[in-house]
Symmetry: C2
């Protein structure tokens, strides 16, 4: 061992000890007769003192140390005269008696400080230097603790961690697979798993009862800002359980993680139906840290002579507190432009200002009397000074648009408090989602999700409207408006699973070719079962109040799926292609 202590360990009680530290030179400061060197490792920073009078050779050597040099230093712990209360080791310093340079360093391309001067690309290329910065290092350490506590909790609750294979079979349903050509089976391919879904169900059929895994999953999607081609899930499945058992177990896990890793106690998580979430927040992952719930106005706003509202399927608004008097016409015009951008797609924005002096000012004043608008205001619970904003149009789209506006205003008004933790279970999702373009149903969750018990009968011989109204025994966990994960009770009956494949447009042959093993397994004593998966990268980010998952991943890829440090992907040898019976199309 190159050290007796870490750089974050020594305290005033250690004064007088002979110690040896090893680490990186954070900074050096030269004061004539004295040279100070801060040496850093992942545990902290300790100050070393070199004294020209005591040992001139050593002091000269110390003066030549550059940033990020790796050193081993020995000496005696002594009390500092000027203590640094911001540093755990700030009460002491080491009077150096020996110094070994273990490895020098070139000048780093960016500073190794909490706020670095390095741009994204540079930091990705020199990831090993970026990972030395305390905030990034702490994120990775946080993640390791999260993984450990997750495993502890689930193991204590009887779950077995069981590894499922990475080289599996490609199925066209769902997102795009990464595929792996097989050399031993020419012209055939494995696929990397998008999730261990079918395998964990097979484990339930096999009798393992309570399974979990913290596991990498893969999706070959066009990458958006915060998507990674490989990501990690906390993946779970339970047999002989109902929805309640699953929600309680994973609410327990979430509380355990907040308690053990952040020291935060959470109350019982509220639950909300999918329909309510859409009606109140225009989103199936509402941020419930603030109110501004939707109020529908069709009954009072229509048939009063305002054609925009009359022709709309839905008239719906939100009340933004306290900004009626401060939001100028210009501000409201800017907000109108914001909702009219193609990303949102609203046609216009109606406002009603309930001004501080009691008067009302509105863009629809010529269609409605003050008394009418006053009555609307009561519905919103608007108080003097509040601003009501209204959208109208096709119901589903309008709700989504108003949901976006609500979040934007919440952000602008500082209502999305990063210190608040608002978990929410969203339950009773639709089973099927109609895709207008493909003219077929897709599974909203996935094809293995069970309809709710009461809907199974209706599913057998329903028409289009019935199919749209079917409810799934599916649930999502939402934290501060971010979807952390979701799951469902699964189908465990062969006929019901076949019926579901039918509805999703699988032919019998397709269903058999892709999922025959699962259908087969259901014929040999499959127990009732269900499960859930949390996005581990995202959970780590959200628990830290951060929006990007990238800095919670040791080696993330950029938006083109490239690892900038190792320069992957890259061309391969012709010999490799030949062995795989593949040719490139240029």
């Amino acid at each position: 061992m190159y050290r007796t202590h870490t750089c974050g360990e020594l305290r005033i009680a250690d004064v007088g000890k002979e110690v040896t530290l090893a680490g990186w030179v954070q900074a050096g400061r030269d004061f004539g007769g004295l040279t100070f060197v801060d040496v850093r490792d992942r545990y902290g920073i300790t100050q070393i003192v070199f004294n020209m009078e005591d040992n001139a050779v050593l002091c000269e050597q110390a003066r030549k140390l550059g940033r990020e040099f790796v050193i081993q230093v020995s000496g005696k712990v002594r009390e500092r005269s000027a203590k640094n209360p911001n540093r755990a080791t700030g009460a002491i310093e080491i009077e150096a008696t020996a110094l070994h340079l273990l490895n020098p360093s070139k000048v780093p391309p960016f500073t190794i400080e909490d706020d670095t001067d390095g741009g994204d690309d540079l930091r990705m290329k020199y990831r090993y230097l970026d990972l030395r910065r305390t905030p990034v290092q702490q994120n990775i350490i946080f993640r390791a603790r999260m993984g450990l506590e997750t495993r502890k909790y689930l193991s204590d609750h009887g779950f077995l961690e069981i590894e499922t294979p990475f080289l599996i079979k490609s199925t066209p349903e769902g997102a795009r697979d990464f595929v792996v050509p097989s050399r031993l089976n020419p012209n055939q391919f494995y696929a990397l798993p998008q999730s261990p879904q079918t395998f964990k169900q097979i484990l339930m059929v096999a009798g393992f009862d309570r399974y979990f895994q913290i596991v990498k999953c893969f999706r070959d999607e066009d990458l958006r800002a915060d998507r990674q081609p490989e990501f990690t899930q906390i993946d779970c499945e339970m047999a002989f359980v109902t929805r309640e058992d699953i929600l309680n177990t994973f609410e327990g896990l979430t509380k355990h993680l907040y308690r053990e890793v952040l020291g935060i106690e959470l109350d019982t998580f509220p639950r909300m139906s999918y329909d309510d979430a859409i009606a109140k927040y225009g989103s199936d992952k509402p941020d419930t840290r603030f109110g501004m719930e939707f109020v529908e106005l069709n009954d009072v706003a229509q048939n009063q002579g305002f054609p925009v509202f009359d022709s709309a399927e839905l008239v719906v608004g939100i009340c933004a507190p306290g900004i009626a008097d401060t939001y100028s016409n210009k501000d409201i015009n800017a907000l109108t432009d914001w909702v009219k951008r193609p990303q949102i797609g609203a046609k216009g924005l109606v406002y009603i200002k309930y001004q501080g002096d009691g008067s009302i000012k509105s863009s629809i004043g010529k269609f409605y009397t003050d008394e009418q608008l006053q009555a609307w205001g009561e519905r919103f619970g608007a108080r003097p000074g509040d601003l009501v904003l209204i959208l109208a149009g096709e119901a589903e789209k309008t709700r989504t648009q108003l949901g976006a506006l609500r979040l934007e205003l919440g952000e602008r008004l500082g209502l999305r408090d990063p210190k608040k933790v608002n978990p929410l279970w969203v339950v009773d999702f639709p089973l099927l989602e109609w895709d207008e373009e493909a003219q077929r149903f897709f599974a909203m969750h996935h094809p293995f999700t069970s309809p709710k018990k009461d809907d199974i009968e209706r599913m057998q011989n329903g028409d289009f409207a019935t199919m749209k109204s079917l409810r799934a025994d599916a649930y999502d966990l939402v934290l501060n408006g971010v979807e952390i994960g979701g799951g469902s009770i699964r189908i465990h009956n062969r006929n019901l699973q076949s019926k579901n494949f039918d509805l999703l447009g699988f032919t019998k042959e397709e269903a058999e070719a892709q999922f025959g093993f699962l259908l087969g397994a259901f014929e040999y004593g499959a127990p009732p079962h269900g499960g859930i998966a949390f996005g581990f990268d995202r959970l780590c980010a959200v628990m830290n109040g951060q929006s990007s998952i990238r800095d919670f991943i040791a080696f993330p890829k950029n938006n083109m799926g490239r690892d900038m440090m190792i320069e992957a992907p890259s061309p391969i040898d012709q010999k490799q292609l030949d062995e795989l019976s593949l040719r490139l199309v240029k």
Copy 2:
């Protein structure tokens, strides 16, 4: 929850309780007025009694249950009149008052018993049924415990579990990579990691100090009996350490696993140099559960007129205890045929029988006197009744051949006691291995392994013989003759790493293209570091005294790399190929 208790939980103290169990029908027995059903889950088996007098309808229902039907049953716990001491629940039974059939089952294609009648292929295809068999299920549960205890131990010792990427870069050095075509970067490929080697070294450069991961690795090799294309490693790396620190830490891990999972206390692990292991056992992974160490005879056997020995580089033998009188000429001829098989490749086998009556019988009796052979016997420590077997030829090959013979005899004589646990550290491996066919050196461990400190100087300007004699700071853990894992102190200096790439025949450009990021990282303050990796599948098997890793993997692949259950790999759609800019070569 479908149950109040598991099928392995109820004891005599629970008599009188109203309980509900759920599980699989293991067996049913019909005795006129009484029907017994054994219901099974992963926790155990409980006997249920249905009484025709009390409830004829229920009893009739129970009689119709087939093997592997999934049922939920309620009733009262009562003491059994005829107890079953072989079963944890054998003191009680459940008097059934309600029975729900949760899912029927077709008749399984093989019996779900400890000793099944199912062949390998059938068991692989219906893996979900095979996994229900207690021995296989217990192996998977054992593995889960091993994973948990590994994580506990390493976390308690300051190691952080950090995930490294699966989509990395293909490098021609070493075994063959599985590759993954990139759609977003056409004509470029990722590779699946053969190990996280370079990433864990980068983590040391990044300052993480103590890293571990239980992680899947991939090798596209022609599969031998006990190889899997995907396998799991306990992968570790430490900074600011010497070999001693690493050996002690992972000796500690191994002891912890034996203690916590098997209740076995292990003593300090012996150490042996690579040279000694080869000289004494003809293997770098000797099974030290039994002796039969090699004795070299060149000095006494040569120049006595026996041409076979005279022309040999090495004359070497072993002493098999107690079989001189029982091994007939026929037996010895069979053994001679055994060593002459192409897999072993010896030219012949010389024997000396030190017979029980004190006389000597030998195939080389006409070249050596009894006095000479008696003196040889003393060297072997041979006692009356022992059989000495001697091989001669080129030194390296002869040692390997005798090593194989030693293991075979150990097996036949029952000396490889499955109850013994003999761990061994083999240390000081050669740095380089000369490949006659490729006419170049390969790294015996891998290209990142450091030469021993004393050999660095010699490495700089050595000739061929010097190169062959260089020693690496590398070590393997061997358990009962099985290599569990290995590791090394790594190079952390750019120039030394470049020199090593030179010796391995990399051009500067190749080294830069493949490992430029690592060479670069060594320029920015790389600490001294080293590590180790254990084969997790193999460790689980060896600790259970089993030779095959397959039944410690939930979903293994067969010798052609196929998953027989899901039928992977398989052809993919033309659309997928087009998106990947690939064409098949038929």
